[in-house]
Symmetry: C2
Subunit: 130 residues, 2 copies
Amino acid sequence: MKLPIQLSKDSREPIYHQIEQQLKALIAGGHLSAGVALPSIRVLSKELEVSVITTRRAYQNLENDGFIKTIQGKGTFVAELDQSLKNATKQSAVYDVFQHAIETARNYDYTHSQIKELFLTILHESERRE
Amino acid sequence: MKLPIQLSKDSREPIYHQIEQQLKALIAGGHLSAGVALPSIRVLSKELEVSVITTRRAYQNLENDGFIKTIQGKGTFVAELDQSLKNATKQSAVYDVFQHAIETARNYDYTHSQIKELFLTILHESERRE
DNA sequence: TATACTGTATATAAAGATATACACACCATC
DNA sequence: GATGGTGTGTATATCTTTATATACAGTATA
């Protein structure tokens, strides 16, 4: 299972945290169901061009949060988690990132309609890419 | 001049970088014009409850990018910068953050209309707060 | 010229990222 | 069924980046 994870290396957000967030998204979004085997830390780290320890840290944190289960020697697997946790994860993550975007635009003195226009432009662009 | 800067301490983005980005926004957005004196690193660091060295680092980076000028013993002042740099700063910063928001929502399996709805909700909320 | 502001430099601690060596699990094959 | 190889996760030591405290140096002015 090849994971669709995109790292932005020049973002200031820690790499392990980017991996965490995107894996949470895949699990809470329903793209990865319980029991599915995740790529090994080595495979994933090679794919993302990142150290093994970094992917391990992401997996460890996700395990602490109850999203995955790891078994030494065997591998790492998506955990069962109830719908309420999935929904809560989705909501807070997406809400926060949009709130941040709008605040940034306001800081740069964008007006209501400018923000709306820019948003719609980017939204349509993102659809054309699929 | 008291600056409207909001730090999120539990964000993974480095503090000095948050300060940089928000100051860039204030300058490129036109809220701070050339020649205006910024708060001293000590005053700002007290206001933000952050170390002097951290605010200094933000100021240093901003100086390297040409947004401000500092004179030892006197203080730090907004630099003159031409409109094209202001516009470029605004555009890339705001564009990037919205793109990131939309990508996050897509990762969590939000549909086009769900994204739009959420965006509008938050946009209106942000206006009510003013 | 004292003092109370400014920015600056050095040393240290905590967090993030890495390489390298270790330990457990599976499985082919002898 | 013992054993070697190759896959998995784990632990230790080290480097870089981020954040801090403390001491230093320039500027203005009462």
